[in-house]
């Protein structure tokens, strides 16, 4: 029996090393649920043991049940019937059934709705394993943020009506945002939502590129205030699958073939309002998207891990010139870079998720009325904690999504380099990983948008604060040299930030990627140094990371400090004219 949890040293190390105990105490809120639910944990040890068992179960299901179906799922995809119904690939349909039976479809939902109330960090680990088995399944399994959004913002009536079936896996959901003319710019959404004389809501309009749009529970972003043309005129509505919800086509995509991407026509479909009007985009979808971005980071980790393993194994077995190709320096460099890249993305994503958990737990306690007996001082502490981590997460979430998704492309691309011609053929899964990886840098906000979001957090000094917090401790002698390198880099980062702030927004956006890359180098470097205090292998990883990345920090520094704007000023000359169709 294979197991994607127990065979992964890095995930297991992080599970043991990170303070998951603290997260357990947060989400279990003093372990008060044990009185009401006989399965809820009674203390932190109990909760940690649960998490380990749950992750082991996920590891077994993903390795034994799901991974073997990924190739067929990629080949057959989903089918849109004449009746307008979508049939999943058999592997996907079976996986949803099994994951539901295993109680894993309500991973972070409260116990009272059938969930298992796990921290986001544990869910992210599970998401990574799902994606390693079949990246396209993550697009359905990883949509649990929809249920979380309902839980966070909808009325009790809606929660009670919809969440239990989502937790059991009977119903799956979709976040229905994108339209033909509203992609990255969701403020431009045109789909209308209106009320009849009795106050019933209806939705009318076309949505495109909707992942799992054939699901039973659709959260639709629609304009409820026709007179307000920007994001403040948008609300979030729940639409159930209905004859008035017409799936018009399934997209024919490069990768993630198991994930049905639907075009939907809402023909005056009955709807229910989630939360308050006008908060659809600015509050609810932003919250939903932040969770989804961590989800895509986890999906990217799974793809990267899978692609790396194929290459590592192949390079060991494949013999050319009478020796395994892993013995050639060029191949060693590829493999080492891939391995460090995966570990870096995991470090960053898990660190971000940990911080998300802290913010969520504080918000739950303050806003969801789950801590009515809070006194003023406690309330204040929680509010401060929520605010602080919200600030962190506004940086860490896009940073993780950007880095992890780009990593999955790099690593699957390099995996193909290691396999050479064999990797280009369908005989090995690498070409699938490469195709699957490509979407991760696009959806839930492109890399370019993530970088723009992240650079604001670097410019505001948040990145500095986070890195400084990590560095501020006593380090063992042998790691101090590495710490000094990071401190030097931090001084460079501060200098660059001060410089670009003087130069204005346009320049900041122009060099955003370089600034964000530098911040990632330092942040991940600090995380690796922390891990190095607990695990010898991480000492080598930290050294390798800084040796590889610090020269790039200085290179980027030179470019940033040049103030050169030629890309903008000479755009017409450098890019040339727009091609004219013959």
């Amino acid at each position: 029996m294979a197991n994607f949890f127990t065979d992964n040293d890095d995930i297991q190390f992080l599970f043991e090393h990170m303070d998951v105990r603290y997260l357990a105490e947060l989400v279990e809120d003093g372990f008060r649920f044990a009185d009401e639910f006989d399965f809820a944990p009674t203390d932190a040890d109990d909760a940690l043991d649960n998490y380990r068992r749950i992750l082991t179960a996920v590891g077994e299901i993903t390795a034994d049940e799901i991974a073997p179906t990924a190739e067929e799922t990629d080949l057959v995809g989903n089918v849109l019937g004449d009746d307008g119904l979508v049939t999943y690939a058999p592997g996907i349909a079976n996986a949803i059934k099994v994951l539901g039976q295993a109680d894993l479809m309500g991973f972070t939902l409260p116990y009272r709705f059938g969930g298992i109330n796990c921290p986001q960090l544990v869910y992210t680990m599970s998401n990574e394993m799902i994606s390693r088995a079949d990246a396209s399944l993550m697009n359905i399994y990883g949509l649990q943020g929809i249920a979380e959004t309902i839980n966070a913002f909808a009325s009790d009536q809606i929660k009670n009506d919809y969440l239990p079936d989502m937790a059991s896996g009977k119903h799956t959901g979709a976040m229905v945002l994108t339209e033909p003319d509203a992609g990255s710019d969701l403020q431009a959404v045109k789909t209308q939502a209106y009320q009849d004389d009795q106050g019933n809501w209806f939705v009318r309009g076309v949505k495109r590129f909707i992942t799992n749009g054939c699901g039973e529970i659709l959260l639709v972003l629609a304009r409820t205030e026709p007179e307000i043309t920007d994001g403040r005129g948008l609300s979030l509505l729940l639409v159930e699958r209905d004859p008035k919800v017409k799936i018009r086509r399934l997209e024919n995509k490069l990768g993630i073939h198991g994930s049905p991407t639907c075009e939907i026509f809402f023909d005056d479909a009955p709807a229910k309002l989630i939360g308050e009007r006008q908060r659809g985009l600015i509050t609810y979808v932003m919250s939903l998207m932040n969770g989804a971005r961590i989800g895509i980071a986890a999906q990217s980790l799974g793809i990267g891990e899978a692609a790396y393993r194929v290459a590592r194994d192949y390079a060991h077995r494949r013999k050319q010139f009478d020796t395994a190709i892993e013995n050639f320096p060029a191949v060693r460099e590829l493999l080492v870079n891939m391995s460090v890249d995966v570990q870096a993305a995991r470090a960053l994503t898990y660190f971000a998720t940990f911080s998300v958990d802290i913010e969520n737990a504080a918000l739950r306690k303050i806003e969801l009325g789950e801590g009515a007996e809070l006194d003023a001082a406690e309330r204040k502490t929680l509010k401060q904690r929520a605010r602080k981590h919200k600030r962190f997460n506004t940086l860490l979430t896009p940073m993780s999504k950007y880095y992890a998704s780009e990593m999955s492309m790099r690593v699957s691309n390099d995996s193909m380099a290691v396999l050479g011609g064999s990797g280009y053929m369908k005989d090995y899964p690498v070409e699938r990983h490469l195709r699957d990886s490509r979407i991760t840098t696009i959806y839930e906000g492109t890399s370019q948008l993530q970088v723009i979001a992240a650079v604001r957090g670097v410019a505001s000094g948040t990145a500095h604060t986070i890195i400084e917090n990590l560095l501020d401790r006593d380090w063992p002698e042998e790691i101090q040299g590495l710490i000094q390198q990071i401190r030097d880099g931090l001084a460079v980062l501060d200098e660059d930030v001060a410089f670009v702030k003087e130069q204005g927004m346009e320049y900041m956006d122009l060099v955003a990627r370089k600034i964000v890359d530098n911040a990632i180098t330092l942040l991940v470097g600090a995380l690796f140094c922390d891990y190095a205090t607990a695990k010898d292998q991480k000492k080598a990883v930290a050294r390798r990371w800084l040796a590889d990345r610090m020269p790039q920090v200085h290179m980027n520094h030179e470019v940033i400090g040049s103030g050169d704007r030629q890309i903008i000023s000479d755009f017409e000359i450098l890019a040339g004219p727009v091609p004219v169709a013959e």
């Binding site: 399965f39 299901i61 049940e65 099994v98 295993a102 109680d103 298992i116």
Partner: protein, 307 residues
């Protein structure tokens, strides 16, 4: 009609993970060298019972005979959905062969008023496939062995499709009855997380006794034997209140005739054990032509590899 199902399960060494230390010098299985697992086809039997309960109502009781460590498979059965778990453990049952085992199990099943008794077709350690049918014989129940599909239950009768080696047949018999279930019958459901969280804490009395010093409060080591026993009872009562007590029966509880149990009840004598070592030897090459293939097939038929 609600059905009370009793599923007999066994903890076995994972014979798919054979290593060099898998056999003792005496030629018996070295159980310590292999991980202990839920016998695979017993999981199919349990799944059949759980499906029957979902369709007809009733209960699923799981019984195993073995050392207290066999509670591991009982916990797994509870996690997958069983209502009740019973451990039969008794030193006097040691060295039981299939005949003694089926006798002891029959004593347990008699106390449980089963409508349907389910067993896996066979266990992967002994591969005898004898315990199920022998148990039916001792209980005077009709048996449908090698079940691949449950066709249905109506009017106190059960109909099932059974594998007969080179085909299948559909048979009907009256309830109560005993079924032995094959791997092909279904796909066992995975452990459900919420039940994992609950039933990981389930214990049998003998486990509580073994772990008493850790589980019980106070200066346990200095307790008198009597006080220790009282504390264990209290702990077990608490487990029972929470639905977490694995019931434990010994041969006295079963009112078993001891001459039919353990070594004295086991007529099986291992006459000789041969360690077969397969080694490569001669080989022949066949041309990749129609004639070559015909020649290869002829050769395979000739040495009874096929046909």
């Amino acid at each position: 009609m609600a059905l009370n199902c009793v599923v007999c399960v066994k903890q076995v060494p994972d014979t798919k993970r054979i290593t060099g230390e898998a056999m003792t010098e005496e030629g018996t299985v070295n159980r310590r060298a292999l991980p202990a697992i839920f016998n695979p086809e017993d999981l199919n039997a349990l799944e059949t019972a759980l499906t029957l309960r979902a369709e007809h109502g009733g209960t699923v009781t799981v019984v195993t005979m073995g050392l207290p460590s066999a509670c591991e498979v009982l916990r797994d059965a509870l996690v997958r959905g069983a209502d009740r778990a019973i451990l039969i453990t008794d030193r006097r049952a040691a060295a039981s062969d299939t005949l003694a085992t089926s006798y002891i199990l029959s004593c347990a099943v008699k106390k449980l008023e089963a409508d349907i008794v389910l067993c896996g077709r066979q266990a992967i350690d002994g591969d005898t496939a004898q315990v199920g049918p022998q148990l039916a014989e001792k209980l005077s129940l009709p048996v449908i062995s090698y079940v691949e599909e449950l066709v249905g239950i109506s009017d106190g009768k059960i109909t099932a499709k059974r594998n007969v080696g080179n085909g299948w047949e559909v048979v009907t018999c009256t309830l109560p009855a005993l079924l032995t279930v094959m791997e092909t019958a279904n796909t066992p459901r995975p452990p459900a997380a919420r039940r994992v969280m609950k039933f990981k804490k389930a214990r049998a009395k003998s486990e509580v006794e073994a772990m008493a010093a850790d589980l019980l409060e106070g200066d346990y080591e200095n307790y008198t034997a009597e006080l220790k026993a009282t504390e264990v009872e209290k702990y077990c009562a608490n487990l029972a209140d929470r639905g977490l007590l694995i019931e434990q029966w010994d041969l006295d509880d079963l009112e078993a005739d001891l001459t039919w149990c353990g070594r004295s009840g086991s007529p099986t004598k291992v006459h000789r054990i041969q360690s077969v070592v397969l080694t490569g030897g001669e080989y022949r090459e066949f041309a990749a032509t129609d004639d070559g293939i015909a020649e290869l097939i002829g050769e395979l038929i000739h040495d009874h590899t096929v046909g």
